[in-house]
Symmetry: C2
Subunit: 354 residues, 2 copies
């Protein structure tokens, strides 16, 4: 394993139980019945513990959108042609996609990373060129990538997180674009959850029954051919994953190592997060789930972490859209923590002893 990946994994420590406890004590002093803000209180506690501070404040927010293509699309597993990946990257750069709209609302920066799109882009000030290859290979025929490429994709994610931490980011979200990447993610969840392919495979961008059956058999074929080691996340990534999934893994490792909380979007981000958690279980201390997507494979991820999803909005778009929506809830939680009056300061009667 590359030294940077090994060092990053080793530097991730669990968050402090003492910090969680003192945050709860502060929340209980605020002018509301104890616990009455439910999950918002859990979000505030976790954010405070990750940042290891008494004075949490969210100023700088970014969503990192990793874009890559997938060789497996030549098997006909998606409702859209592969050329949509670079077209959507262009849409991100033009500010016209859903992730742009939602990020503007949340005052968050959108960082678009070409980590493996099958297209030669013109230079653009907002496009980060970290291309590993022009898409992965067709996993039904050969491993999606080499182990060296898998480690390269993780390294790119770590470096992104480090750079963002150096620039003072307070909250991150994962995003992605890549026609074919629900196929890769379902393959990953089948291995990680030890579940049949049909249990973890959904309709992605909206395929019909016939294409769904094709997608399931394509994944089965790839898993039988390569037999990824369930205890080796990098092996899984290399054989059936995608460059953007490796980027997400690395982003989470790098962010956790620098005490930066990360909000996880839908299926593909959850696949990257699950692989990162397998590399170091303490990663889950640093991540927030956002929404429950309609894709069934994501349940494997929810089993791995401790907070339930914040929304169940039947979304299945990706890009980071669900994660950026959750920025609003996490900021609400942090503002509750830092701005509410206490019973004492407001002169309000406490509850009767019972």
């Amino acid at each position: 394993m590359l030294q940077i990946i090994r060092d990053t994994i080793e530097s991730i420590k669990p968050i402090s139980p003492l910090r969680l406890k003192s945050a709860q004590a502060h929340l209980d002093s605020l002018t509301k019945p104890p616990g009455s803000l439910g999950l918002l209180e859990e979000l505030a506690k976790k954010y405070t513990a990750i940042r290891d501070t008494d004075n949490p404040c969210i100023k700088k927010k970014s969503v990192v959108v990793f874009a890559a293509d997938h060789g497996v699309t030549e098997e006909g597993v998606s409702a859209y042609p592969a050329e949509v990946t670079p077209q959507m990257v262009q849409n991100f750069l033009n500010g016209g996609a859903a992730i742009n709209v939602l990020s503007r609302q949340q005052n968050a920066e959108v960082l678009v990373v070409d980590i493996g799109v099958n297209h030669r882009f013109d230079k653009h000030p907002d496009l980060l060129d970290r291309k590993i290859a022009f898409g992965t290979r067709n996993m039904t025929k050969e491993p999606a990538m080499t182990r060296a490429e898998a480690e390269e994709s993780i390294t790119i994610g770590i470096q992104m997180a480090t750079q963002l931490a150096d620039n003072g980011v307070d909250l991150l979200a994962t995003g992605e674009m890549g026609i074919g990447n629900t196929t890769a993610s379902s393959a990953i969840f089948s291995v990680l959850g030890n579940l049949s392919v049909s249990e973890v495979t959904g309709r992605g961008t909206g395929i019909d029954d016939k294409t769904l059956n094709k997608k399931i058999s394509v994944i089965q074929q790839a898993l039988e051919k390569h037999n990824p080691d369930p205890d080796d996340p990098i092996d899984i990534l290399a054989k059936v994953g995608g460059y953007e999934i490796g980027g997400i893994m690395g982003l989470l490792l790098g962010a956790a190592a620098r005490n930066i909380p990360v909000v996880i979007d839908g299926l593909i981000s959850s696949a990257g997060a699950s692989l990162a958690i397998k590399l170091n279980p303490s990663v889950k201390d640093y991540i927030f789930p956002s929404h429950r997507s309609v894709e069934p494979g994501q349940e494997v991820f929810f089993d791995l972490i401790e907070l339930p999803p914040l929304f169940d909005l039947k979304m299945r778009l990706g890009e980071g859209t669900g994660a950026v929506l959750a920025f609003g809830l996490i900021e609400a939680a942090v503002k509750i923590y830092s701005e509410m009056a206490t019973f004492q300061s407001a002169g309000i009667s406490e509850r009767a002893e019972t």
Copy 2:
């Protein structure tokens, strides 16, 4: 029935199915797989249809917090003393409560209405004095209010909505404060849902088992004594309701009559909304649920409307906190509708015909 109430009820019309259909067509032209933004698309469609416009835009948002006291608190049904109602009103005016924090985040105005608090407040520029009485009467002994008082509380809500509509509000939320008001709301839901009191009664601000049993028997006693007519929402309000619940009913009627969407908070707001829907079922076309509270009675409300709650955050604070959190999602939906690129404008390939 007062003429203003009758006229308002009669002026509420269902939203246009044509408008919903044309809004869906626009959403399907945007650069995302059709339907992939799930409930956000439903929110955008409904908002657009309520406002009856092709160019939805949310600029002015307000939450109306109706505060009132409840005579039934002398039976010992709450974890907090009744004096907390005026103390919390003061906290709202000082900007220190959860509703203030969340409204600042959402750039929404907080309007505090004294519709029946058991306290004589000093004049305050941000406190609207619409006091009907110094709290309702103890429903175990006599009806909570007279029918005239019930109609007065509804009228106050209608007038608030009319004034806000005149001032150009684009989106409203319901809020309330009143120690004892989960007792009134559970009583209302028992009647409306034809359910046993124990099925619809929860722990409010956090009462223990003994107080919960007391609360259930107090509600049973009141319902047996007064036998509210399930087909007469004003009778239910008068016998076991509260002034703030009448205010919420009126706000919804007045808002629906003026094409203003309203977001419904937790148990108490849901009780007011359910009574308003019983006065005119078209009211449900104009309201958005926000969160599923931990109070069981709220399920009666969800059965009455057609959209599921947007959050399940285990909240039970009231004040309008859950509704104001939902402002963020509704604004996100409206911005998606109005700001995203179309497939055509972005030059992106459409899905393959299957």
